[in-house]
């Protein structure tokens, strides 16, 4: 088998896969979370069920889609739900984990997908919420995936699209939101969780070659560092990489680095 090392996107997809436990119902978008979820299904979590914003329930995997409503997200699904019902599935406790990306992520896991700069005089206007706010508000657990830079991990969001732990402590629950909020953040640097009391972002593991200093340098707020030794994130085996490259995303739509 190949001894090739994972590129950063392959590493992200692999870490995503490892966050998924067998038998979970996983709400995925397109892109790396979908790559990771299908890898999980082909390895340690064969009994997971993938559901999509298209309403597709448990489709049969196919080529990587561009859109969450692409035929692949409901390919041969026994049923597809209307959009309102697809989010209700999360509200009603039928989703275990959802994956999220964002342009900005703060120390409490709150997300911005709306705007960079002032809302009315934006440096860049972004997409808006889409289903992001709903999954953050309704799903039992959410996991944030993205590339980590000080700009993308600022001290203050320009706009709060999707609630994480708000301002920490019990503020999320007091606001009437459902579920635990974000439980992990996965980047090219490491994996983060949220300290149980303050709900601030904390280093959980660092990828090979990464250090606390690098992690902090990639972050616009102060990361919490655990007192114990920080583990090194496990890396994919050669077989994991083969699966990723040959079976999960053979067209390399989402695992080519740098992205096309």
């Amino acid at each position: 088998m190949s001894k090739a090392q994972p590129n950063p996107l392959e590493m992200l997809a692999f870490v995503v896969a490892k966050q998924i436990e067998d038998k979970q119902i996983v709400y995925v978008g397109t892109g790396l979370p979908m790559v990771g979820a299908i890898l999980a299904k082909k390895t340690h979590a064969p009994n997971i069920t993938l559901v999509y914003e298209s309403g597709g329930q448990d489709p049969i995997e196919g080529p990587m889609p561009w859109s969450v409503a692409d035929p692949v997200t409901w390919r041969k699904a026994p049923l597809t739900m209307e959009m309102s019902l697809s989010f209700a599935q999360a509200a009603n406790g039928f989703v275990d984990v959802a994956f999220q990306g964002a342009a900005q992520i703060d120390m409490y896991g709150n997300l911005n997908t709306h705007v960079i700069g002032d809302f009315n005089k934006p440096k860049a206007r972004l997409t808006g919420s889409g289903g992001g706010n709903d999954l953050s508000s309704l799903t039992e657990n959410s996991i944030i995936v993205g590339l980590q830079t000080p700009e993308k991990f600022p001290a203050k969001l320009d706009f709060m699209t999707s609630p994480g732990h708000l301002t920490g402590g019990n503020t999320r629950r007091e606001a009437g939101l459902l579920g635990n909020g974000p439980v992990a953040v996965i980047t090219q640097v490491g994996v983060y969780d949220f300290e149980p009391e303050s709900k601030r972002m904390r280093i959980k593991s660092l990828h090979p070659g990464m250090t606390v200093e690098i992690a902090q340098a990639c972050t616009g707020f102060e990361l919490l560092v655990p007192e114990d030794e920080i583990p090194v994130t496990p890396i994919p085996t050669a077989e994991d990489l083969r699966l990723l490259r040959e079976e999960v995303d053979p067209q390399k739509m989402f695992i080519t680095f740098p992205p096309q």
Binding site: M83, T127, G132
Partner: protein, 363 residues
């Protein structure tokens, strides 16, 4: 102007909305009921051409709802005809409302009830971003997909409003004049909820696989918000891949989701979702979208953008000419195969998803 409804004043200020009466029509349920009571009741042949339907049913300033999802069963050819007819000042709404951005540079859309405007894995829509910066489009409200979907659903089920757990504590609450955060009155413990009113766009085109001439319609694949929209919107136009006899709908009821009485017009429009995907009929045109996104969403060159839309929309007579430009018969045959490989089968049948380049490029 006096508005009929109670809007969040903070949101009005944040969105710089001077005249809130522009917001009224979206939630004026009573006027929708009155309009529905005046709709044609009898089963009559409602077929007309796309040109006629757009001319008759889309008025400048209308709240225009997107349907389908992004490039899946979306009535793109109807949108292109709206652009061709030079409609002006529309309010765009939909979850997602991705396709509205094409018309903004031409004044077709001037307002957005924003839920999602972008190209998913292909990134943000730079053209939209520039339009926002240049105030070519004013944002009237910010929504999550789920909250907007519930607004359409409330309209469908005859609920003046409903409570949701979406949107709470986000900055959208202060950038949406419609929604209200209140305490759940059923609970003794404090429990904030977000009230979402029934949402009623003025006009929606819904592209379906089959309909009869009266408007009874069948959808195959994700219906997204379209069942709700068919009930929520003031004017409903069905564009159909195929017109079938009523007896076909009577004998095969699976997927039949829109009753004729909701429908104002029926357009026999094969390839009405092209260059997008029409489940069961044709795959989306990857080549078109790769180039379309590169040219129209990059914001790099107004000339290239105009040349692109001139070629594909403004200088294009109808959807059949559009399909000729995509590659004609060869495109059709290939995209029927791809649709089958992506959806109708899951065995490996050796279909190649790569494409041969046939369309003009602009860079």
């Amino acid at each position: 102007m006096k508005s009929k409804f109670e809007y969040n004043p903070v949101a009005l200020e944040n969105l710089q909305i001077k005249d809130p009466s522009i917001l009224d029509r979206l939630i004026d349920t009573e006027s929708v009921r009155q309009g529905n009571l005046k709709k044609e009741r009898a089963k009559v042949d409602k077929r007309m051409t796309l040109k006629e339907a757009v001319a008759e049913y889309v008025s400048d300033g209308d709240i225009y709802a997107d349907s389908g999802f992004s490039y899946v069963r979306t009535p793109l050819q109807a949108l292109f005809e709206v652009m061709r007819q030079g409609k002006k000042g529309l309010q765009g709404i939909g979850s997602p409302n991705t396709n509205h951005s094409y018309g903004i540079p031409y004044g077709v859309f001037s307002y957005s009830h924003n839920s999602y405007l972008g190209a998913e894995m292909r990134g943000t829509d730079r053209s939209y971003s520039i339009s926002v910066q240049q105030k070519k489009v004013d944002i009237l409200s910010e929504w999550s997909h789920g909250a907007m979907a519930l607004g359409f659903k409330a309209a469908q089920i005859g609920a003046p409003y409903l409570a949701s757990k979406s949107m709470l504590a986000s900055d959208m609450i202060n950038h949406n004049p419609y929604v209200k955060v209140v305490d759940n009155p059923f609970k003794k413990d404090k429990d904030p909820v977000c009230l979402v009113p029934a949402l009623h766009p003025d006009v929606v085109f819904i592209h379906v696989q089959q309909a009869d001439k009266y408007g009874n319609a069948r959808i195959y694949g994700p219906s997204v918000n379209d069942i709700a929209l068919a009930s929520a919107c003031r004017k409903v136009i069905i564009t159909a891949e195929e017109i079938v006899p009523e007896s076909d709908l009577r004998n095969n009821t699976g997927g039949n989701i829109i009753p004729f009485m909701f429908v104002d017009a029926v357009v026999d429009l094969p390839f009405g979702a092209a260059p997008g995907n029409c489940p069961g009929h044709y795959y989306w045109s990857r080549e078109f979208w790769e180039w379309g996104i590169r040219i129209t969403l990059s914001g790099k060159s107004d000339e290239a953008r105009d040349s692109f839309w001139n070629y594909w929309v403004f200088d294009c007579k109808d959807q059949l000419e559009f399909v000729e430009k995509l590659g004609g018969v060869r495109w059709i045959e290939q995209h029927r195969k791809l649709e089958k490989a992506s959806n109708l089968t899951y065995e490996d049948d050796g279909v190649d998803f790569s494409y041969t380049s046939v369309i003009p490029k602009w860079d």
